[in-house]
């Protein structure tokens, strides 16, 4: 790891003196150039991890942490990037493996990755309104309305049924026959008692 080459070429880069591996804070505008220089000149060929983080004691709320690994020199490097206005340039053009990690950081924190080829949610469903890993999101979660109002009115259900409902190994929704193994009887709720 040639630290001097990095800090002299990118003056905005700040050495954070990481205890377990070299750690730098990189300006968002430099990120793509830094990652590409590390990959092509210093052998950091594998993006080990990319995740979002709610920052403490920084002017911006969110940041992104990238861990790069060199399979030839057997060492790691960590890059911190502040997400000014919740936006960070996407590195998935340099490391295609970052694609899903960035989708997850968007899903969990709401960080927007500029230039991302497929900016969708990944773990939560597409219409989900919150970003659950933010510190102001409660651990118990927030109940969200069932997406289809007409279905909700008839069945009284508040959560979406499992997508395998109606599949070959799952009994049919609604009324279940006696003795049929079932996970959830959705024909009644607390408001609408069992007939």
């Amino acid at each position: 790891m040639d630290a001097a080459a990095l800090t002299s070429r990118f003056p905005a880069t700040q050495d954070l003196a990481g205890k377990d591996m070299p750690t730098y804070r990189v300006a968002g505008s430099d990120l793509l150039a830094v990652v590409s220089a590390l990959r092509d000149e210093q052998g950091f060929d594998l993006l080990a991890d990319l995740c979002g983080l709610e920052l403490q004691g920084r002017p911006v709320r969110f940041g992104v942490v990238i861990h790069l690994l060199s399979t030839t020199h057997k060492e790691y490097v960590r890059l911190h990037v502040d997400a000014a206005n919740d936006r960070v340039p996407s590195v998935s053009s340099l490391h295609p493996g970052a694609n899903w990690h960035e989708r997850e950081a968007f899903d969990m924190f709401g960080i927007v990755f500029e230039g991302h080829p497929d900016p969708r949610r990944i773990l939560m469903w597409d219409a989900y309104p919150y970003h659950p890993l933010r510190k102001d999101f409660p651990l118990a979660g927030i109940e969200v309305p069932f997406p289809a109002a007409d279905v909700a009115e008839v069945t009284g259900q508040k959560v979406e049924p499992a997508p395998m409902m109606g599949g070959p190994f799952v009994s049919h929704g609604g009324k279940l026959s006696e003795g049929e193994p079932s996970a959830l009887d959705q024909s009644w709720t607390e408001e609408k008692p069992k007939a």
């Binding site: 990481g18 205890k19 377990d20 591996m21 750690t23 060929d45 594998l46 993006l47 080990a48 991890d49 995740c51 983080l53 709610e54 403490q56 942490v65 861990h67 690994l69 399979t71 057997k74 790691y76 960590r78 490391h95 295609p96 493996g97 970052a98 694609n99 899903w100 997850e104 969990m108 990944i122 773990l123 939560m124 469903w125 659950p132 890993l133 999101f137 651990l139 997508p163 395998m164 599949g167 070959p168 190994f169 799952v170």
Partner: protein, 408 residues
């Protein structure tokens, strides 16, 4: 212009006439035996050929990272069981080492050796299942029966060691929950003899089996460059010809003392990934034999870490200092200094990484889990198109993923 229609599996045969010439969207999963859990693939088919593959994940998302921010370090250990639930012991160890690295703890040699032993047993357990179900995915039933038989013996050993067959929760920050029981190591040696015979049998059944070769050879080849670009780790990376193994290249928990080889593939197709796992099984047996032979004596937990590891139970009820220590640790959690750490361990599925940010105290500020299966699946949109629908099961099995770790 091609039109894409969405239809269910049952309709395919009945409507094949009118669909001729159109691309078809087929949902494979989330409840499908070849997807090994709750993975859903949204496939676009042109006849029998896949032209587009869009994995839909998140069906097993439990919010482990959110949960971790709200409990003490030791309370999170049972949650790590449920990441890669085919090798819970390896997850326990990876998590414990990550936090210990942040705390700057040095563990006694016996504890490290026990951890290496359990990690390698977990690897055997995971690979046996991986190969067994892979054979089943490609049409061979018998192999699964052989490998599951051996796994059952492993579970009996795990139960004797940890008290649980499946959800072991064996490690604590600074050590393990209990020492090795008397007479357990000879049983491990006996298991090694048995599993070697089984590996040979599986080898004879599969490796030169014509049907198996046709289903796996040359399918979904991942080049070295591609494997690195997508961040693959573990057997999937090594099968593509990158000789990188964290046990060798970033040794942890005393792996450097043991003698073992790292198998590396040549072509990076499904068959190479199978071969790498077969050889890793043999190497794991080799490591286990060495650990059993050289198991050091002494303490099995960090005795000087008074603010991290619980005192022995016998002393808690008789000594005041230990009682206070026990009380503080249980109520406030192990005291970990402020800072950040990233640690990856070579798990059966690949590199399981933990990024821990601590503000001091007993609860992490942020705990990020880098699941190797999540990364392995992200390559699917690049390697599945161009293959036949029947090959999808073969490709999925060769990547050996587990959804508990992918969705977290």
């Amino acid at each position: 212009m091609k039109i894409t229609k969405e239809i269910s599996i049952g309709d395919v045969a009945a409507r094949s006439e009118e669909l001729r010439g159109e691309n078809m969207t087929l949902n494979m999963g989330p409840s499908h035996p070849a997807t090994h859990g709750v993975l859903r693939l949204s496939l676009e088919l042109d006849g029998d050929k896949v032209v587009k593959c869009d994995p839909v994940i998140g069906y097993l998302h439990r919010g482990d990272e959110k949960i971790a921010e709200n409990m003490t370090y030791n309370q999170f250990v049972p949650y790590t069981d449920r990441l890669d639930y085919l090798a819970p012991l390896a997850n326990n160890v990876a998590y414990a080492i990550a936090v210990e690295k942040l705390a700057g703890l040095k563990l006694p040699a016996r504890c490290e050796a026990i951890r290496v032993l359990t990690c390698e047993m977990a690897r055997i357990s995971s690979h046996l299942l991986g190969i067994g179900v892979y054979a089943m995915d490609t049409g061979a039933w018998t192999v699964f029966m052989y490998t599951f038989n051996e796994r059952e013996k492993l579970y009996t050993l795990f139960e004797e060691l940890t008290g649980a067959r499946f959800t072991t929760s064996y490690t604590r920050i600074g050590g393990v929950t209990r020492d090795i029981p008397d007479g357990w190591l000879p049983k491990v040696s006996a298991f090694c003899d048995g599993v070697e015979r089984t590996i040979d049998e599986v080898d004879k059944l599969l490796t030169r089996n014509g049907i198996f070769l046709e289903r796996t050879e040359g399918i979904a080849t991942i080049s070295k460059e591609m494997a690195l670009a997508y961040g693959l780790t573990g057997p999937n990376l090594r099968a593509s010809g990158v000789p990188f193994d964290l046990r060798k290249d970033k040794p942890y928990s005393g792996y450097e003392q043991y003698d073992f080889d790292v198998p590396v593939g040549v072509k990076g197709d499904c068959f190479d990934r199978y071969l790498v796992r077969m050889e890793e099984l043999r190497q794991s047996v080799r490591i286990i034999r060495q650990v059993v032979k050289t198991m050091p004596g002494g303490a099995w937990y960090a005795e000087d870490a008074k603010k991290i590891f619980l005192p022995p139970k016998a002393k808690v009820m008789t000594k005041m200092e230990e009682l206070i220590q026990n009380f503080m640790l249980v109520t406030e959690g192990p005291q970990i200094p402020a800072g950040e750490v990233y640690f990856e361990a070579e798990n059966p599925k690949g590199a399981l990484g933990f990024y821990v940010v601590s503000n001091g105290g007993g609860v992490p500020y942020r705990l990020r889990i880098r699941g190797p299966s999540f990364v392995s699946l992200s390559i699917l949109p690049a390697i599945v198109p161009g293959n036949f629908l029947t090959d999808v099961a073969s490709i999925l099995g060769s990547l050996d993923f587990v959804m508990g770790e992918c969705d977290r």
